[in-house]
Symmetry: C2
């Protein structure tokens, strides 16, 4: 990944930072990153973007050009500019592993740093985590809808900017896609790359037959013919079958791609014709503005589809183009003492949870998540006894849960004093872990529409702290 | 802008390119970039992203690392890899000026290059132009809805990746935003930067009064106080007014920001209280998931709002997160002769317009656009006489238009043999031109919902060519 300038921050972070610096407030602080609402009307999200974020944090600094630019704005004083010249992120970061199914109101990341450092990285942190979590979640939804099918991400041309495309490819793969069409993403992140052919290939030759034959000649091991340039059944399929037969005779695999028309009707017709021609191994790939809902419909209709090409909706989120992650101060230092802090809002669900926290996930005997408990980080939460889960909005609702299976703390330290605490996991391993996590998650949470609400509660101690801060004059 | 690797392309472009190279098809070709559907259900789009694209095209090459990666894929042969090692984009590019209101089915960009070169840049070209046009269009809609108000773009934390944020800031400014919060975008593109304060500033001090006083002390010329951390009217506003009075006594300007609650109710209450306190010059800034529809509602309700902070929806498009630009082969060379080509689809509106084309915009006597005529580039279209406008789907509909005002060809050459044909206009000038273009566009095309359809027709000669290709056996 290309290094990111520390200037990748909102101006108000810099003006506030100068204030903290000037007024002696640049003291240890703790911020939580959490989100408020599941995207896509879904029941879970997949946390992603951590490794690229940590990489960016490690290299973060202001270049001479950045500093000259800030000086030219005429609102920053010499001593603060000198401070920025030596700025490095030296904080601690705790985070959930990428690929974790996550739920609103629980901290996904916790940053311990000086107030200035913590504030300056807010925009970058949210930008990277929000976007990759959005795309990983969309990918997981498409993957689930396809019943674990082969998903080829090819969203480059509709992605939101160059890095929007690259990080989308990473997150889509992490969330369940099998490969990307973006060659640079392949090189950068080690994602498998794949692709078929475009209409322009077919149009560049004298006719469809020549275009297909030449392709098969050049790529006998990777031939997937796009058959809808003129007429899918009468022209494309008719011209593809002889090519497929020759490849089959050589013991090669072969496939066709549908990119327009009614996919349900055409995929069934094409399958029938391929089978009738003895090409029972031939694969059918489909594309054309697919999303999880269309995929689910086609799967439910029994369409014989082997490969799903998904672009626009996967890399941008489609109709839900942002993940609602926010970053809030939960502890500050006053007079050398750590003081938990919270934002009290007229909307109870917009009030934040104060203090340094941990999230414990309770699993059943089979390893399926039951509920999450957000508590203070120094609480001891184990399997020993029954636990009280309080409603996060601090009303009177609560329930008890006896820990029958594993109780796993989800936040672990990933950065210490600005350096990685552990080696970064390989992206393919993160993808494997995501699919394992997805498979353990009860089906009711994975429904596309109106899913079961996974409970995120607060512990008795956190509830007491929250109440004491809310009732403070 | 950071240089972009030529590997920023879909794998199939590279595999097809190797085929063209191998089969002697790497001959001069022409591709059109056009789009199919207005985003946001609107009546116009604003074309954007050209200057960054041209800059990327000029620097495009494969690094040694890129080539090693391609070699490792084991599908590329030595002679093609050697060709890629020397690859540079040496084509000609014709394009509309950034900031032009554009409509479906007309070419926005025309690329003349060898088939391989033209194909390899497809993904990058579409990625950059699609995304910036999406955001510039959204910005123009918000600008129109605000009746030319002051729009502060602050979408960094919800943008789609690092470059997604940067190019969104550029496009938002070009489309009508007044400033960005993204400091790096400010430095990179020379966009004015602006910002207020976050809740964390208020929470970092002992109380709201101290937080406000300290801010005003540090930034007496730029004080906009965020007044909703605890309670907007009872706490925030009450604490802000004394600070505002002191600033006013010093002859300084001052403002407040609302970031939650009912903006209509609160902005009116706040205005009343500020006026009653003699702070009639105080500005009211608002934010919180704004888009053009909310802005229009608040303007229609007569809310006294001076500054609109717009983030998520502006930089991602919100519910419409992609611009439907495509890139299609319109001419190839066969036996040394240029041959117009087209994709014929079962959906007439998905059939493409063949050949090398120009777009003429007909204006009325007052400079307001009337209709666009797409014709062949060597047609002479002027003000001399009445012109026939044929429906683009080649049915029998047509109408005549007498050229009463200017008839302007919209595509001009911006790149010759891989080098810029003219100096790039300054971004602030492009913004000025956009606003001028917007103001000339009839109100009926600018309605947010169900707008008047701006007509894009084809000339008689283009119609004949299209018919001759469609009826070819």
């Amino acid at each position: 990944m290309m290094p990111v300038s520390a200037l990748m921050t909102d101006l108000y972070e810099l003006t506030m930072a100068q204030g903290y610096f000037r007024f002696g407030l640049d003291r240890p602080a703790v911020f939580d990153m959490f989100f408020r609402r599941q995207p896509f009307g879904g029941g879970f999200s997949i946390f992603a973007g951590l490794a690229p974020l940590l990489e960016a944090l490690r290299g973060l600094h202001f270049s001479a050009e950045d500093l000259a630019y800030l000086e030219s704005q005429k609102i920053f004083e010499r001593d603060f500019l000198d401070y920025l010249a030596g700025f490095r992120f030296k904080g601690d970061v705790w985070a959930m592993p990428e690929g974790t199914p996550v739920f609103p109101q629980e901290p996904l990341v916790r940053v311990h740093a000086s107030l200035v450092e913590a504030q300056l990285v807010e925009g970058l942190l949210l930008c990277m985590l929000n976007f990759q979590s959005l795309v990983a979640t969309k990918a997981a939804r498409v993957y689930e809808a396809s019943h674990g099918g082969t998903i080829l991400e090819f969203g480059l041309r509709r992605a939101q900017g160059v890095d929007g495309a690259l990080s989308a490819s990473r997150a889509a793969y992490l969330g369940g896609a099998s490969a990307t069409s973006n060659t640079l993403a392949g090189r950068t992140y080690g994602i498998p790359v794949a692709g078929t052919m475009a209409h322009s290939w077919v149009m560049a030759f004298t006719d469809e037959t020549e275009a297909f034959e030449k392709y098969a000649e050049l790529y006998p091991d990777k031939t997937i013919l796009l058959i809808d340039t003129f007429n899918t059944l009468k022209s494309g399929l008719a011209h593809a079958i002889p090519v497929g037969r020759r490849l089959a005779a050589m013991g090669k695999s072969f496939g066709v791609r549908l990119d327009s028309g009614d996919i349900q009707y055409l995929s069934m017709q094409v399958r029938q014709a391929l089978d009738a021609a003895g090409l029972t191994d031939a694969k059918i790939a489909v594309s054309n503005e697919l999303d999880e809902h269309i995929v689910r419909e086609l799967v439910a209709a029994g369409c014989p589809i082997d490969i799903w090409g998904v672009g626009t909706h996967l890399v941008t989120g489609g109709s839900d183009s942002s993940f609602t992650g926010v970053y809030k101060l939960v502890q500050k230092q006053v007079g050398g003492k750590d003081v938990p802090t919270m934002k009290v809002s007229d909307n109870p669900e917009k009030s934040t949870n104060p203090g340094v926290k941990q999230v414990w996930r309770f699993f059943d005997e089979c390893g399926s998540p039951l509920a999450d408990l957000v508590g203070l980080h120094d609480e001891t939460v184990g399997t020993a006894r029954s636990w009280t889960f309080h409603h996060p909005s601090v009303d009177s609702r609560s329930f008890s849960l006896e820990a029958r299976g594993e109780v796993r703390p989800l936040l672990s330290q990933v950065m210490r004093a600005g350096e990685l605490s552990a080696a970064e996991p390989a992206l393919a391993d993160l993808r494997g872990q995501t699919l394992k996590n997805l498979s353990a998650l009860d089906l009711t949470y994975k429904r596309l529409l109106n899913p079961h609400l996974f409970k995120v509660s607060i512990s008795s101690r956190l509830r007491e702290l929250k109440l004491s801060l809310m009732n403070r004059p």
